[in-house]
């Protein structure tokens, strides 16, 4: 002790030693180092993705948010529908319809192998399409798939599908359906055997935590993908999602709040990827008063202030329309899109005519910020015309349970991420519209008009869509309040990434640019 000089105290020595130890331990290598970036495409590196929901390998046939980050990296479809709604081949080489459009012959690529090393054949395609027909696999397009009356391997790399009637939904089905390995699909649910044909190979699933993928060295496209690996982290907290992006731990994230997206949109270090969009309908149960009367349902349509919803709920980044279809749809009836322009007096008159003024209307909704804001405006609008709206805010899980059981009550706010599907597909796939919808709406004329749209050819589609739209607007069992885009947010340095199939990302050509 006495050897220490009077100016070098024990405290100083201890402090210096501790500091040196910490520096030695943490200073050598930093966990916040920036990954190497380049001006053009470059091989190597790890793509880091942040997903707001956990993966559900067992639901790979369905469009689920938890599968967006890996589904199209591991699996590939027969074809994908582009922005102009033109089908582009992926695992299919080409296809030919017969004159009546009831038979389709699909020629498959012959250079595709599964990650197991086995070559993909027509049998795998037949098996995959048959899995969509099985309700257990939870595809939103099960009704579309069931219209295929036969799926046959007519060659080692040729598949023929036949339909009872022509269908305009076939390529939505092909786009959404991953081609799976028939030998291992039964073991996919627990993540132990996730075998696809895509540019990345499924390595490890840490349930509710993340997924590790590795580059597929035998991918059919030469020199692709660029990244050596993909790490997907499940981050359910919106603040943590933003921290992951800003802190450099994620190159792309989904599920950020609209407020965070607004902030990041104005920052040049980030860019938004359009990931489809969401329809926000107000459903009305036609078997429960006061919505058992069409006048009351129509009055609700005239009461809604869609412009205010667009501004206040979605910060102006939404589309106001009365229709359930994507505006890029061929034959989209623009003249009908504003049928229910807000007319409070007309709504009051309709309500009085039906004797429903003062009726109490419980409105069920999932207890999410967007739905709460939406409800507040809907409540105000309904009270303006003389209805008494009551909030039934439900935990998301309970809301889903009630939706399945059909016990949401007389009115409910829903959300459907189906922007991008054709109208012919939407009438079969959107829960608000399909047979067995939560509004309990059923009418043979409705079924006839839906079938007419699905069987229409290019020339007949505009009229078929207009007729169906007009009928549905009169029936008024579901009112679209807004159609809002949804986004993935990426760092500006991440180049070559694209978003397809209602939100799934494709990273075959992705790399970190300088």
């Amino acid at each position: 002790m006495s050897s220490l000089s009077p100016h070098v105290t024990r405290r100083l020595v201890l402090g210096s030693g501790a500091s040196a130890a910490i520096l030695a331990m943490t200073g050598c290598r930093s966990a916040v180092g920036k990954p190497a970036a380049s001006a053009g495409p470059r091989r190597g590196g790890t793509l880091q993705l942040a997903a707001s929901a956990d993966a559900q390998p067992g639901a790979v046939m369905a469009n689920r948010a938890g599968n967006w980050m890996w589904r199209r990296l591991v699996f590939e479809p027969l074809a994908e529908v582009d922005d102009k709604r033109v089908p582009q081949p992926v695992l299919a080489k080409n296809w030919t319809f017969n004159a009546a459009r009831t038979e389709l012959v699909i020629e498959l690529r012959d250079d595709v192998t599964f990650h197991s090393g086995r070559a993909m054949t027509a049998d795998d395609v037949v098996y995959s399409l048959q899995q969509v027909q099985n309700a257990k696999n939870a595809s939103q397009l099960v009704a579309v798939a069931k219209k295929l009356i036969s799926i046959t391997a007519t060659g080692s790399h040729q598949v023929t599908v036949t339909l009872a009637q022509p269908s305009d939904s076939l390529f939505d089905l092909f786009d959404l359906t991953p081609i799976v390995d028939k030998d291992t699909f039964a073991k996919i649910a627990d993540g132990s055997s996730v075998i696809g044909t895509g540019p990345f190979v499924w390595k490890q699933w840490r349930p509710k935590a993340g997924i590790s993928l590795a580059r597929n060295p035998t991918y059919r496209v030469a020199d692709r993908p660029y990244f050596d690996a993909v790490e997907i982290s499940v981050i359910t907290d919106p603040t943590a999602l933003q921290s992951a992006l800003r802190g450099g731990n994620a190159h792309l994230a989904n599920g950020l709040t609209s407020a965070d997206i607004k902030t990041l949109r104005s920052d040049p270090a980030y860019a938004l990827e359009n990931a489809g969009g969401v329809f926000y309908p107000l459903g009305l149960n036609v078997t429960q008063a006061p919505f058992d009367k069409a006048e009351v349902r129509q009055a609700v349509g005239y009461a809604l202030d869609r412009a205010r919803i667009k501004t206040q709920v979605f910060g102006g980044d939404a589309m106001t329309t009365d229709l359930w279809w994507t505006p890029t749809e061929a034959g989209y009836p623009n003249d009908l899109a504003t049928r229910y322009t807000m007319q409070t007096d007309k709504a009051k008159a309709l309500l009085a005519q039906a004797g429903a003024t003062g009726a109490k209307v419980p409105i069920a909704f999932a207890n999410l910020p967007t739905m709460q804001s939406l409800f507040e405006i809907v409540r105000f609008n309904l009270e303006q015309i003389g209805l008494v709206a009551q909030a039934v805010a439900l935990d998301t899980t309970e809301f889903d349970a009630r939706q399945v059981a059909g016990t949401l009550g007389p009115a409910f706010l829903l959300l459907h991420g189906m922007v991008g599907f054709s109208a012919a597909t939407i009438v079969d796939a959107m829960p608000s519209l399909k047979t067995g919808n939560p509004s309990r709406y059923a009418d043979p004329r409705y079924d006839t008009l839906k079938a007419g749209l699905q069987q229409a050819d290019d020339a007949g589609r505009p009229k078929a869509l207009s007729d169906l739209s007009s009928f549905m607007l009169d029936a008024a069992f579901s009112h679209i309040t807004a159609v809002a885009p949804q986004y993935h947010v990426r760092t500006a340095k991440l180049a070559g990434i694209k978003t397809v199939s209602l939100g799934s990302i494709v990273a075959t050509d992705a790399y970190l640019a300088g």
Binding site: R29, V32, A138, K208, D237, T397
Partner: protein, 316 residues
Amino acid sequence: MLSFVLRRVPSLITVLFVSSVIAFLLPRLAPGDPAITIAGPDAAPATVAAVRAQLGLDRPLPSQYLSWLHGLLTGDLGTSFTTGRPVAELIGDRLGSTVQLAAVAAVLMSLLGIGLGVLGGAPRGGLGRAATDALSGLLLAAPPFLTGLLLILALGIAFPVLPVSGEVSLLADPVIGIQYLILPALALALPQAAAIGRLVQTEMRRNRGEEFVDLAVAKGLTPAAITRRHVLRTSLATGVVAIGLRLGELLAGAIVIEAIFARNGLGALAVASMQSRDYLVVQVLIVTAVAVAAILQIITELVLAVLDPRIRLGAR
């Protein structure tokens, strides 16, 4: 000491049994259904019913409980409804993350807590005392999530010196792993440390008025020696009790901190499992949390007896 531990066993078993009943019933009281998570909100009721039957959720509750309890006692924790993975594997994968976070946070909490207590309890001028009081007051008032967010903004985004998202295991890479742990552990430890510091500080100030301190002063000991040898040691028992009690709170706080820092620990697993109504995972986590709290309580009593000779384990 052994007899003391043995005497605690019956009450420990009772606590665990009651908590197993509560853990079984609580998740089922919440509305919702794991079958919906699997089948999807668009599924037909028949599909959901088939999934429920497949999961065994259509059986009477007592039968489900007894099956689960039997599995628990025989080491079979069951299979997660939503992931199809064994519950033991899910928990085992996450245990390391939470243990590392809690251990580093516990060390920081103990060091900072006692350090703050000593700073506040040592004789110093009015300005120094006001500064330490203000610091501990500030830390006490800031909940872990706020501390965490401020640390992320300051050291992760404004001056990016430490990672703010994700994790690397200390066992896999200690150098990188500790960097991932510093901010979440600090966020978790600081409010608890302030509370411990307050207790130690109060106890030290009280002990300074005792006669044995006057005697030490009369003997000519330096103020530092009096603090170290006499005041601190007699005041530490309070701190140890507080540390023992707050270890449980650290685990509870880890739920929030793991979410903010995107760490995949048991807290994050508990939240995700509750959201998807993955009953079996939630049940095991609740029972485990109760068991850990009960065992920590016993360990605290043992440490207290070692520190303070006036406390006898055998005393009734």
